[in-house]
């Protein structure tokens, strides 16, 4: 449970408040490094694939019109490479989704830190900084690998220096790149979700009619209830058995041989009904350690 509590605190640390003009806090969740790196890799691969396709088209074009007038193919290739390298990110993030294909796949989007709308100058600033965050370390890497020993040392020093920019997101709690810092943006996780069905009560045939006392239902708080909800939405038999045993022990109920999930469902249902009624009276118990104040 201590592990879960730590996880919950970490989760709360990733929330950033964004109050809409209507006065509701959307409490956006910042993207993890673990979401952003795959998104960037997907974008890199897409750019690589586009570059290969561009090269192929230019070469085929050059051979069909004849090598003597192949200059146009070279120009197309150079401009295409330039546009791809500098404007893929900028144009994608200026669109209504404010995300590149990689970010879309990871369910991310770019947001202005102030909550204003994302303007073109912010997008340009955050993406032009990629030059020192990614391309410069990359060039130092190849510079170091390709040259002699003295130059390799220079390359190494350059790599260490530019590594500061590359690893910048690891060293601030908002997970901002240098580009994000300068543009006043951050990347939030806003995946498209489907609304799954509500956990229906009494779906278990032949389960005994459980009756819980108020004391039995007051053992846990909201956090435990929602953890139980997550288990019920994705039921694994061995986890259900452990949790059911723990709850039965806690509320002093003997093992009655009924189905664990049926028991958990019934307990969830009853506890949620009681706690939601409590909410209406202004009583909210965050977790099982959050004891009501004795008068």
């Amino acid at each position: 449970m201590a592990e879960l509590a730590l996880q919950r605190r970490a989760e709360e640390g990733k929330r950033r408040s964004l109050v809409t003009p209507e006065g509701v806090d959307l409490s956006l969740r910042l993207a993890d490094i673990g979401q952003r790196i795959p998104a960037f890799l997907v974008d890199l691969m897409l750019m690589g694939a586009a570059l290969v396709a561009l090269t192929f088209v230019c070469m085929v074009g050059a051979f069909t019109i004849g090598l003597t007038s192949a200059e146009i193919a070279v120009i197309v290739w150079l401009l295409g490479f330039f546009l791809l390298r500098n404007f893929y990110f900028i144009l994608m993030e200026m669109g209504p989704r404010a995300a590149t294909f990689g970010k879309r796949m990871a369910g991310l989007r770019v947001v202005a830190r102030s909550g204003e709308r994302l303007t073109a100058d912010r997008v340009i600033a955050r993406n032009m900084m990629r030059e020192i965050e990614f391309y410069l370390p990359l060039s130092f890497l190849f510079y170091g690998a390709g040259e002699g020993s003295v130059d390799a040392l220079t390359g190494l020093a350059g790599l260490a220096w530019t590594g500061l920019f590359l690893f910048f997101p690891f060293f601030n709690k908002d997970r901002m790149r240098v580009g994000d810092l300068l543009a006043g943006t951050w990347v939030v996780s806003a995946p498209r979700r489907k609304l799954s069905a509500d956990l229906a009560p009494g779906a278990w045939e032949g389960a005994p009619e459980y009756r819980f006392t108020a004391a039995q239902l007051d053992v846990y708080g909201v956090f435990e209830l929602q953890t139980l909800e997550q288990l019920l939405r994705d039921p694994r038999p061995e986890a259900a058995a452990t949790v059911a045993a723990a709850i039965r022990a806690k509320i002093g109920l003997a093992e009655d041989g009924s189905h664990d999930l049926a028991f958990l469902n019934a307990y969830y249902d009853a506890a949620r009904a009681r706690m939601e009624r409590g909410l209406l009276f202004g009583k909210r118990r965050a977790d099982k350690f959050d004891l009501p104040v004795q008068p």
Binding site: V24, E71, I75, P96, L118, E131, G184
Partner: protein
């Protein structure tokens, strides 16, 4: 046993509206706003406010985590769509050229002067070094850039490079290469500004020194005047762009070191956004410089005409950026 009837009824009553909002957003995001019917467009803000109020109610009365997470996601998506970009690409372009870009450049006038002075120092240093000792030339100008134009070359060859370009065929491709290369250097000098502007200054000095070394080479053969014409026709635009990119970098570096009244983060953000507008303009300027270099210099071979075009371009840019203009109304 009573089921949590209230929160379930709440959800059942509003689920249809949430799904409709989700559907509208899905269509608008994957296609465009134009894919929506008038009916949907009118319904969108109402559905959005409805979803927001559902979220507020759910947070206070429901313990269904799945529902709250879903509503948070839906509301965030709708918020970004409803309060997102409204202006068309065309009107944004107009605003950029008519107002934003010149204003951003004017805002950088101090840094532009510094950046210009540093480039000038680079040019003079390159010129003086190579004039006094021609062996400096090889260390200042990489052989790829020089392409045979060095102290071993004959006067005739040097003269021919000024008026016949770098070898006849492949000129347009070379000009394109120079454009993309220069643009990349400009983006680099902008982004390096974040490292307190020091690498930006080094790039500017080096860039100036290269031009100075070239000038010294041609001046030593009595071709200084002609070389000036060859350089200025596109150089006035190109160097102006590089100076502005350096200025944008300096602004960022300066604001990180000396944030003034603002917090360091806020100062960096303000500087970064202004500098980004300048940088978008720098790419446009470099494109013009590429055209002048690839086409203009091949078509115009008279020295006087080259000087005239170069100086006219400079005057045009200065007028565009710095001439006072009536404040935009509205």
């Amino acid at each position: 046993m009573t089921a949590p009837a209230d929160s379930r009824r709440f959800r059942a009553a509003r689920e249809g509206e949430w799904r409709r909002l989700e559907d509208i957003l899905m269509r608008a995001e994957s296609k465009s706003v134009r894919a929506l019917s008038d009916e949907d467009l009118l319904a969108l803000p109402i559905l959005y406010r409805g979803a927001l109020s559902s979220l507020s109610v759910a947070r206070e009365t429901s313990l269904d985590l799945e529902l709250i997470t879903y509503l948070e996601g839906l509301c965030a998506r709708a918020y970004f769509f409803v309060y997102g970009v409204r202006t068309s690409a065309g009107s944004r372009m107009t605003a950029f050229f008519a107002r934003d870009w010149p204003a951003a450049v004017r805002g950088l006038w101090r840094e532009t002067l510094v950046s210009f002075a540093i480039t000038l120092i680079g040019v003079m240093a390159g010129y003086l070094l190579v004039s006094s000792d021609s062996t400096w030339f090889d260390s200042l100008v990489p052989s790829g850039m020089a392409s045979g134009r060095d102290f071993a070359a004959t006067d005739e060859y040097l003269r021919s490079t000024l008026y016949h370009g770098e070898g006849g065929r492949g000129l347009a491709a070379f000009a394109t290469f120079l454009f993309t290369h220069n643009a990349q250097v400009c983006v680099l000098s902008f982004s390096l500004g974040f490292a307190f502007g020091v690498p930006t200054a080094m790039l500017l000095v080096y860039n100036g020194a290269m031009a100075g070394a070239m000038l010294a080479l041609f001046a030593s053969r009595g071709l200084g005047m002609e070389m000036g014409g060859w350089l200025i026709i596109h150089g006035s635009t190109e160097f102006f762009a590089i100076v502005l990119a350096g200025a944008a970098g300096f602004r960022i570096g300066w604001s990180v070191v000396f944030p003034g009244e603002e917090s360091r983060l806020a100062a960096a953000t303000i500087a970064g956004r202004g500098a980004a507008i300048v940088m978008a303009g720098v790419v446009v300027m470099l494109f013009c410089a590429g055209l002048l270099e690839g086409l203009g210099r091949q078509l115009v071979t008279g020295d006087i005409a080259r000087y005239a075009i170069g100086i006219a371009m400079l005057a045009l840019w200065c007028g565009f950026f710095y001439l006072p203009r009536p404040a935009a109304n509205g």
